[in-house]
Subunit: 282 residues, 2 copies
């Protein structure tokens, strides 16, 4: 595995791969890799000739009161994990290589990014789309893999690929969970033991939603109420930000749950913001 | 020359050219081609293995009160001219191929696009950048050629290429003028004979600026005043929108004119909006 730290070196590798007829599979990450990330890298490995993983904690997708400064990092461990999972190139640019000081062009989305996490994270998806567009232009992949854990991000990126005509196939890989059901997240490292116990109720509320749907309940409002009740009664330490019952592509609210409906939530547990979701099967 | 009307056909051609190690030179236009456009195509011909010209009158860069409906078109003539100038592919997508009805992703720029034409054409550069980003992702050129006549557009597109890391070299080709000095524009066709005589004073005011600078005047304000005076005294039919004395890369106002300073103007003559500019040599 080769470590790349400049845009020009990355673009040169992309060009050479293209000229050699080799496809590139790309996994953009913010590092502090967990099994969820590794599943994305392994998926890219199966789908492309050359696998590029990027690690870049993107300042522009963090709000002024968010956790950019304390976002967890462990480069040496990440590097070893990328190598083990079969990455060919680890792209790890410093911030000043990614953004010139007077950068003034951005990519934004006006529909899917407004609700859910977008309601509380002003500018977040603009930051995400801008950096992902940049990374796409640096890596020039045929396939890029994102995680379903960030369901809204995946939907917004798919929309960008469609609307800006990036010739890239977006693959969204399933959520990987800890043994106790908690969705894997780099931010789980922040949770104190008692907070972690509280956080488990997020997944439990989604499992409740799933079982209600399986038993014939298809009312979005009824399911949301039951989830809220479960959390209120069992998890006082969970500060719920939203529960959304929406179409998984358009992210438009759905009164009636159907196959493919996304049930997503965000909550704060202690100082840690967590998200989780399920896509309903029927 | 081959006519292409779908995005998928265009992207397939780009892919094949890339795999064959052939570079693509790209000239995006809105059609109704004149000598200015043809100079861009010829330049692309000298710089790349494969030349793609696009013709697309982009609705999203016209304001609600602008001239989208009456923008001049002559496809058969354009096609013949592209062929004569050595284009290999003419990309001529219908609007519905370019934009899905619920498109919600856009590219925008916050500094260079605010002044000059951006002051009066709200959303214009967002429309330009979004369609150019789309076209870049469809055509995947190594080189793209734009005209200096649209000086602000060229600066904003260069900024986009820099900030979003498109691996594309942007070439800006000099303004081509009619024998009487009028900058070539598809919109010149709208000018009545007496309007055209008035419009000539735009270039004359720029020539005055040039000669003042050549004679040692380097004050932006003094040059602008002299230009305004010349137009006021000789061209009552010219409704001046702005004269800008700015750095040609950052488009920031310059009190002192130096080599590379852009002197740009926009005016309405009858119902026709015209722009023109010079870059100062010293």
């Amino acid at each position: 595995m080769e470590l790349i730290t400049t845009v020009s070196a990355m673009q040169s590798i992309s060009r050479k791969s293209g000229a050699a007829g080799k496809s590139i599979g790309f996994v953009p990450t913010m590092g502090f890799l967990h099994e969820g990330h590794l599943s994305l890298i392994k998926l890219a490995r199966r789908r492309a000739d050359v696998v590029v993983v990027s690690i870049f904690v993107n300042p522009r997708q963090f709000g002024p009161n968010e956790d950019l400064d304390r976002y967890p990092r462990d480069f040496e461990r990440d590097k070893a994990l990328c190598e083990v999972c079969g990455a060919d190139f680890l792209f790890f640019p410093p911030v000043e290589e990614m953004y010139v000081s007077d950068a003034s062009v951005f990519v934004d989305e006006s529909e899917l990014s407004a609700g859910l996490c977008g309601s509380s994270r002003d500018g977040h998806f603009r930051g995400v789309l801008t950096v992902v567009a940049k990374l796409f232009n640096m890596v020039d992949p045929q396939v890029a893999v994102f995680g379903q854990k960030d369901a809204q991000q995946a939907a917004v990126i798919k929309r960008m690929v469609r609307d800006l005509n990036f010739p890239i196939e977006i693959i969204v890989a399933p959520i990987v969970r800890e043994a106790d059901g908690l969705a894997m997240s780099s931010r789980n490292t922040f949770l104190k033991p008692e907070e972690r116990q509280q956080a488990l109720w997020l997944n439990k509320s989604l499992l409740l939603a799933e079982s209600m749907v399986k038993n014939g309940e298809n009312g979005g409002g009824a399911v949301e109420s039951a989830m809220r009740k479960l959390l209120a009664e069992n998890a006082p330490g969970v500060d719920l930000e939203y529960i959304a019952v929406v179409d998984s592509t358009s992210l438009k609210p759905q009164d009636t749950i159907v196959a493919g409906t996304l049930i997503a939530l965000a909550a704060r547990v202690g100082n840690t913001r967590l998200i989780d979701n399920i896509v309903v099967e029927m």
